[in-house]
Amino acid sequence: MYEVFDHLIDQDQVVGILKEATAAAKDSTDESQAMTHAWLFTGPPGSGRSNAAMAFAAALLCPNSGCSNCNHCTTALAGTHADVELIRTEGLSIKIEEVRELIGRASWSPSVANYRVVVIEDADRLTESAANALLKAIEEPGLRTVWLLCAPTLTDVLPTIRSRTRNLILRTPSASAVAKLLESELISPSIANFAARASQGHVGRARHLASDVAARDRRTAILKLPLAISDLSSAFKAAQLLVEAAKKEAEAEASTRDDKELQNLKEAWGQQGSKLAQGGSKVVKELEKEQKSRSTRMVRDYLDRALLDIATFYRDVLLAQSGTTELSDAIINSDLEFEIQKLSATSTPEQTLRKIEAIMKTRANLARNANPLLAVEALMVSLR
């Protein structure tokens, strides 16, 4: 029982609530409020929002309340269970067409288990009309339908959605908990410790950093970019390096996936030689559009992560400038301690703060669809 929840790190309170909810859901005579039909999981990225939602789904469907071994559990966790509707997007948004279709399916009775569970992994990426379309379905779903929504914060979803759901707040996993998890995966303590701090509680990223030397090197290289800026030309160069790295990453990912997807789709539409079955070209076009949106998002995500990493560096400088020595544990980029000390001695806290502000502004601009190269160039010039 409840083994599925073991994978959630440092979320005891939430797990407690979910266990009670599962117990209430299994008990047909239960009249308490422990279980309800719509949940909203919020928490910072990497805290395990979607993992929590999937685990809860598995626990609801599994006859043993989440043994994590049975067919129900494994398929639910993988997102392939017949009674789990999993909505996730790798594009920029979830569109209303998708939601309309989902609402129909969501009202069906469950086929093999006791519940039909709808998991929306990126409720913050619902377009406004899509979110509005969900309202009625979330408020009064079928008797056996449960909605599980995930979003970074409450303000990322419409207030009308928020008011219809029960909110579960996942905490940022503490660095020590993340480090312990990594150590249990046979990663050396020093690297585990570094990765846990550098990822700021983002479990997936911590794991990636800990297990991949190249990723660690890339991160350090990015952090050192602004340090190398001395004049305009080096600023432009740094910007170009960063944006190119982002594009290259996205392309590398795309080249392994896009062609294969396209090939599979074309085969499914009966491509022999050059001719597709009727309607096929439209579907192919749609896929290409989706792939484009995906690669845009990948570039953006990569840049956003890089900018955040740089921001953590300046945040460390700010911390060092505050004159505290007790917080040396809290320094995120402990590998760059020398640079941090140097910069904190040669600049004022105001300058540091202004640089962080510039980074945040650039992130906002990128999110508003600014040209990545222009935005990053502007940033690098102001980091000078």
Binding site: A21, A24, R166, I169, L308, T324, E357, R363, S382
Partner: protein, 565 residues
């Protein structure tokens, strides 16, 4: 799975709707007197009873005894339309968000003309009406304006402004409001009793606070608390923990650190907030609320207890001392920054970073006016100010020095009062000699500042001002002196006799920071420099030959000369 509280306790008559008397009473009266309109628009924030009221309206109209504000509850229609009932075939509830296309509207329009199956009215409840597409809304216009006698429309929406005005003008508009805390608290207590769960004192106000006046929000939160209830009901501690409210001690610590401008302690407090598993966002919100309390305490002092009713006396005392310690201006500034930071705390940013950033902003007062500061800083570093800006020290010191050592001045860190004169900084364009800190003083910049100098003179002595204001101009400036051209000899003589040159010199020091001897020439070509602020003095430019003008304005160099043929 039991029904969520907000569905379980959905009202079925107007008398059960709370906090909306301004809507329910007129509607009840209309039902009693039979003055029914054919289209209604219910608007208001989330969870205050729009959809419920629309259903109640339908139930009241279609009751066999109806139209009546008190449906009998016995007839078939009443049974069908009771909250959580099966619904009636004649009451069609549409979700405009999923049926907001023009085809849906056309279909509705066509079907509307068929008579109701078993009830008096055929009632269309169009929920989330703000999501009606423009095509759909326009397609509905005619039927909403003049529907068949058996058809009634009720639109419900959170955003009435998004609904096209032609629909709004065809409806009776009833705006719903958020529910006041007192009424909401009483309602919640009633529900707790009905659920048979004991709730500790102080929990209900917490729920009311986090709901922001929406009944559905309140019931969602209450459901969560009831689910977490132990043997002795919902205790205050459980509620605080489940709702994630911040420990008062942590807030005190943060405020104290803020008062002491102690960055280290403040960052340490943040560290503790995170390590103890508090939600950083929640902490920020609570921090903002605490700042708001401090503003109120600072402003009204003795009567604060009347406004901050929920705060016990001992804590009020502590707030008072905190408010005195920090000062209202700082609190307001901090609140501003926190409020803005809160809006940025969304999406994929590590919340801890944002929280630390907010605190950094609060602690560093000079981080405001970012553009200005960074501009000065840039100038400072590249040393491109050709007009040397001296620290204000020479102003107070007797201006006796004949020569200002320019190097020393530019190398000095810029002192604060310079910030008050951004025009000066902007007025000094980088010259070709920008790399050398001892570049020549730019006469164009000085001329642009001339009106300011004159204004300054006016404050010192009216006589000098009247001599200069209409008939003088800066002619030249070098390392030792500023040369002034005055239009006629008489004016010049009285300028020198009256000792006005010292006045002008002091004015120059004050405005531009230049301490130079003033020399006076008679120059009949000088015009009143009225336009000096915006345009370069044209007569003066005319005086120069083309080459000189190019050299002065653009830094041109003579490479070769030709004679004109």
């Amino acid at each position: 799975m039991s029904l969520a509280l907000y569905r379980k306790y959905r009202p079925s008559t107007f008398s059960e709707v709370i906090g909306q008397e301004h809507v329910t009473e007129p509607l009840s009266n209309a039902l009693t007197s039979g003055k029914i309109h054919h289209a209604y628009l219910f608007s208001g924030p989330r969870g205050c009873g729009k959809t419920s009221s629309a259903r109640i309206m339908a139930r009241s109209l279609n009751c066999e005894q109806g139209p009546t504000p008190n449906p009998c509850g016995v007839c078939q229609s009443c049974k069908d339309l009771v909250a959580n009932g099966p619904g009636s075939i004649d009451v069609i509830e549409l979700d405009a968000a999923t049926h907001g296309l023009v085809d849906d509207a056309r279909e509705l329009r066509d079907k509307a003309f068929f008579a109701p199956v078993s009830s008096k009215y055929k009632i269309y409840i169009i929920d989330e009406a703000h999501q009606l597409g423009p095509g759909a809304a326009n397609a509905l216009l005619k039927v909403v304006e003049e529907p068949p006698p058996h058809v009634l429309f009720i639109f419900a929406t959170t955003e009435p402004d998004k609904l096209i005005s032609t629909i709004r003008s065809r409806t009776h508009h009833y705006p719903f409001r958020l529910v006041p805390p007192g009424i909401l608290a009483a309602h919640l207590e009633k529900i707790c009793n009905a659920e048979g769960i004991k709730v500790a004192k102080g929990v209900i106000p917490l729920v009311v606070r986090s709901s922001g006046g929406s009944v559905r929000d309140a019931l969602s939160v209450l459901g969560q608390l009831l689910a977490g209830a132990g043997k002795d009901g919902v205790t205050y501690e459980i509620a605080i923990q489940l709702l994630g409210y911040t420990d008062g001690a942590l807030l005190d610590e943060a405020i104290d650190a803020l008062a002491a401008r102690d960055a280290a302690t403040l960052y340490k407090t943040i560290d503790r907030v995170i390590e103890s598993g508090h939600d950083p966002r929640r902490f920020t919100q609570d921090f903002l609320e605490r700042l708001r309390d401090l503003i109120i305490v600072g402003a009204v002092d003795d009567d604060a207890s009347h406004i901050l009713r929920e705060i016990p006396a001992d804590q009020l005392q502590r707030l008072r001392s905190q408010a005195n310690l920090i000062g209202t201006a700082t609190v307001i500034r901090a609140a501003d920054i926190v409020a803005e930071g809160l809006t940025q705390m969304r999406g994929a940013t590590a919340p801890r970073l944002m929280l630390e950033l907010i605190c950094g902003r609060i602690l560093l007062p000079d981080s405001d006016d970012l553009g200005l500061l960074s501009r000065i800083e840039r100038l400072e570093r590249t040393g491109s100010i050709s007009l040397p800006i001296s620290a204000p020290a020479p102003v107070s010191a007797a201006p006796t020095k004949e020569k200002v050592v320019v190097e020393a001045v530019t190398a000095e860190p810029i002192a604060e009062p310079i910030l008050e004169r951004p025009a000066l900084v902007r007025a000094a364009p980088p010259t070709p000699s920008a790399t050398k800190p001892t570049g020549p003083v730019d006469i164009a910049a000085l001329r642009r500042l001339w009106p300011d100098v004159i204004e300054n003179v006016k404050k010192r002595r009216r006589l000098t001002w009247s001599l200069l204001s209409a008939s003088a101009q800066v002619l030249a400036v070098d390392e030792t002196a500023i040369t002034i051209g005055i239009v006629n000899a008489g004016a010049r003589d009285s300028f020198i006799r009256s000792g006005s040159d010292e006045i002008l010199r002091a004015a120059f020091v004050d405005v531009t920071g230049l301490d130079r001897k003033i020399e006076c020439l008679v120059d009949s070509t000088v015009n009143a420099p009225v336009s000096a602020r915006t345009v370069e003095d044209p007569t003066d430019a005319d005086q120069l030959s083309g080459t000189e003008l190019l050299m002065r304005e653009l830094g041109a160099k003579v490479i070769k000369e030709f004679t004109k043929e």
